[in-house]
Symmetry: D2
């Protein structure tokens, strides 16, 4: 099993909704940011790829909401990646509150790499899965 | 099968990301807004319930992204609801682009009703499923 | 004085913050969307212009917050436009709650038109001020 | 002149719009977060105050947009505070890109303290201006 890549963030008050908890959609922002940081750490630059007409596109999101982050909470987003078939990339992500490491969110995000709008192998985007797992 | 409740919306440019398409997390905003409108149409007021310490909370989100909305696209969000066991509520939602009615997003959102922080039957929030399906 | 262009919108619950009111930054989203609709109504397409390397860029924002929108509030955003010197465009915008027409927000937004990154006359973007005021 | 309070942040890709730059409204999020962190550093907790029916409310925003943040940019938000008359609080804020310290945004944010909905002296919220300036 691949090691996980971690980033640490902190809740910002504008992310809270009237229930005083982080709004459900905001977790997708956290997860997306963590994936882009993960990719950057492996020399894959989402914004630069777009300029070359290579886009990483999410096709399916599954998120289990286990508990809610609140004002001032610090947390980590843990990300690992695997391949599914020839073209699908799967990110496994988890958000844990600090310092108690309680799992807030568990997510499975499936994506594909599009080149000029057509699905292509992840290697097109420089995603060498073998290498990724070794670097980690 | 219950009839679907529809709202019509239009993409706003601030919802687009650098790929020129609506950002993934924004669809969750659309879906949440559609659920709240659905509930209001059945006299269930999310914000007012919160003031009474009754909260409807999402526990699981599954979203299939089939195609992307772009600048100026108009679309409908279709919502229906069912019950799963004693406490779980399930929303079935679909986003269709107008005027071609192409499905952009299909989603299944599972939630529970919390009263003072504890799971309770949907009827606590005034969600009379039987009645809902009749009203529709 | 030019006539005002109006769009009608409704508060969505995800736009509320923990104070139960629309978050300050969200009004900028409303104002931006209203400006883009205003421009579209005059055949100026923000997204299409960007593809031609012509960008309308905001240089200064002044917003007076007079009262707060809440859950379920309907409102209009009123927009008019004028020119300041050779290159500056000024939008005058106001958000009024419905049905009581109470002013929530008054704003003055200053922008310039950039062609390949350099300031140029608004006419570059098809903004014929004379004509705009006549069309209205 | 009071010393400035600094926080360091990094652009997240979901904050970019179709122009590939941070959307105008997002800077208000950055500025708000920086003000809340500034207040926390002086033992004033925005979320906790709200629970006591004391709200800090923005009444006027002036933002000069000088340049645009892009994907992966790191930046600091600098915040200082002063009093204007008996009830108004003024925040002076600046966003500087790192490492070149170029000013992206200069802002003046005016607010008041509301207790049970009525304007009251900043000291009501624990904002001891004298002390603030000394602590810094």
């Amino acid at each position: 099993m691949p090691q996980e890549y971690e980033i640490e963030l902190k809740v910002r008050d504008y992310e809270l909704d009237l229930q005083g908890i982080v709004n459900n959609s905001v977790y997708q922002n956290y997860l997306e940011h963590a994936r882009h940081e993960y990719l950057l750490a492996h020399n894959v630059d989402f914004a630069a790829l777009h300029a070359e007409r290579i886009d990483l596109v999410v096709t399916r999101v599954e998120i289990d909401y286990k508990d809610s982050l609140k004002s001032q909470d610090r947390f980590v987003v843990k990300t690992s990646m695997s391949k599914e078939g020839n073209v699908r990339i799967v990110f496994h992500q988890r958000i844990e509150r600090l310092p108690d490491q309680k799992t807030m969110i568990a997510a499975k995000i499936t994506g594909v790499c599009l080149k000029c709008g057509r699905p292509s192998r992840p290697e097109t985007a420089g995603l060498e899965l073998q290498e990724l797992q070794e670097i980690q």
